[in-house]
Symmetry: C2
Subunit: 297 residues, 2 copies
């Protein structure tokens, strides 16, 4: 079973609405809210580190402080570094090379860092036969992502797939999930980056109040059009809308479609052919039914 | 959104080990245990009943007592009746025609009745725009299946996909799930039917004690080979093994593979090429990563 290499796929996740729930324990911290997981996602290949195969202090470069989780990380073929990936490896006690590949834009609200962390946990557990359960691996990735301040709710949503509703914040065993039952085509356009760390690091009180209201409305009527409607209200009330996104959302609505802003990115996503109908040239994918999973190499 | 027709796919589920936890409340009743969901499954098409489109007392034939959930049900094209399907429709207050299609053998331990109920709930909710959440639909199907005595844990496992571990019995909000992270080829051979109702209706004390032991061992080491190992021990200790299955399990083990009995059916399932290597001519599928989902018609 210990093949020393494995591959995982993790769907992208656009958050439609959320409230922030910080906690000293990163497994307890998280967000409530809802979003959409996408068949466009992140593929993570984990293999034994070329410069060290076990948990020793001399291997690799990515986390010299602990010597754990060492090895080379590449992002779309280029050397790179993702803090949550390093932390997930360290938690599993493996030194590994990690190749992260994605067609999704990075830093644009698709949960790429969370997907990379979760894919790393799944693939490293398989490659190095660590014998952790799915919940344990999701917990490791969630804690790594929260600890690095790069996300609060993407990991648990990406693990579930579909259109996840985060009823209660936190990792499996702490948080609670539900979902909007839906199969749909999704389109998206990205206008650039927005810093998750900066928004989550600031005052989140107004944002979270708007997120709680939006979630309450969605729970009463867990349907896709309602999700998009409450997401638009949330973006306005939380004062997160950026001009290009606001314009695109309006254009889609004018064309009779449903669109909303992806939190936190300069990204608009729409159902069906919403953005195409409004004259944009969007990327096209679907709701991902499966959630994070091991795949054949 | 109310197209009056929709289709869902629900994976088959072979239970490897379980303990029974009856309760007067069917959402609380269920089983603890573990099993494998399969890419071979059940497709359910729901459409407006040809003899009545709303919840009235005069429509259809399948549940004359309540007049709800009426309409025609077919199983692989032949008129048929599945109690849990009728109850799921009634709970959603719709009269619908339901076409259940599956390549899986019925009554042989693949959870076809649970899959039919869950697929009906998902598709009927979509076709008739009932606005229920995923958890609510799983709860409806679980309660219908438990109420009919045709299964205790298939529905929640089929909703999750993968290799589900049922940590605590019951529907979403009551029960708790984890999973063995695994992507694998699965082979199976069926030798005939075994009555779930008869086994679950009898004395389940010995069976449940063996199931609890097996689950404890799996939770310490949530890996696929361990699942197969504890499943074999469970089948012996619970006195559920039938001769043809015992022979096939031994043959696969002798050929160096991993096999176990599907609860409750005269069915053996194996990892990878286990049954082929032992000289059997099995059906071949894979672990289903996604779980129950709406699909395009």
């Amino acid at each position: 079973m210990s093949s020393q290499r494995a591959t995982a796929f993790v769907p992208g996740h656009v958050t439609a609405l959320f409230s922030a729930h910080p906690d000293d324990d990163p497994a307890v911290a998280g967000s409530r809210g809802a979003g959409v997981t996408l068949t466009d996602g992140v593929t993570v290949r984990v293999s034994a580190a070329t410069d060290g195969e076990s948990l020793t202090g001399d291997a690799g470069t990515t986390d010299a402080a602990t010597g754990a989780g060492a090895g080379e990380t590449t992002i779309d073929g280029e050397p790179g570094s993702i803090g949550a990936v390093d932390d997930a490896l360290a938690e599993l006690g493996v030194a590994a090379d990690v190749a992260v590949e994605t067609d999704l834009p990075i830093g644009a609200g698709f949960g790429v860092s969370g997907a990379a962390a979760l894919g790393t946990a799944l693939a490293a557990n398989d490659a190095f036969d660590r014998g952790r359960s799915e919940n344990e691996l999701v917990r490791i990735a969630h804690a790594a992502e929260v600890g690095r301040g790069t996300g609060l709710g993407d990991v648990v949503a990406q693990a579930r797939g579909g259109v996840p509703i985060r009823l209660e914040p936190g990792a499996p065993g702490v948080g609670e999930l539900d979902g909007v039952p839906a199969a749909a085509r999704v389109e998206y356009v990205t206008f650039g980056e927005l810093s998750t760390e900066r928004v989550l690091g600031g005052d989140t009180e107004t944002l979270s109040a708007a997120g709680e209201d939006a979630l309450d409305r969605l729970r009463v009527d867990p349907r896709l059009p309602t999700l998009m409607d409450v997401a638009r209200t949330f973006a306005r009330e939380a004062d997160l809308l950026v001009p290009e996104v606001a314009e695109a959302v309006s254009a889609v609505e004018s064309a009779g479609g449903e669109a909303a802003m992806a939190m936190l990115g300069r990204t608009v996503f729409a159902l069906d052919t919403g953005l195409s109908d409004a004259g944009y040239d969007p990327e096209v994918c679907r709701v991902d039914a499966a959630g994070a999973r091991l795949v054949d190499d």
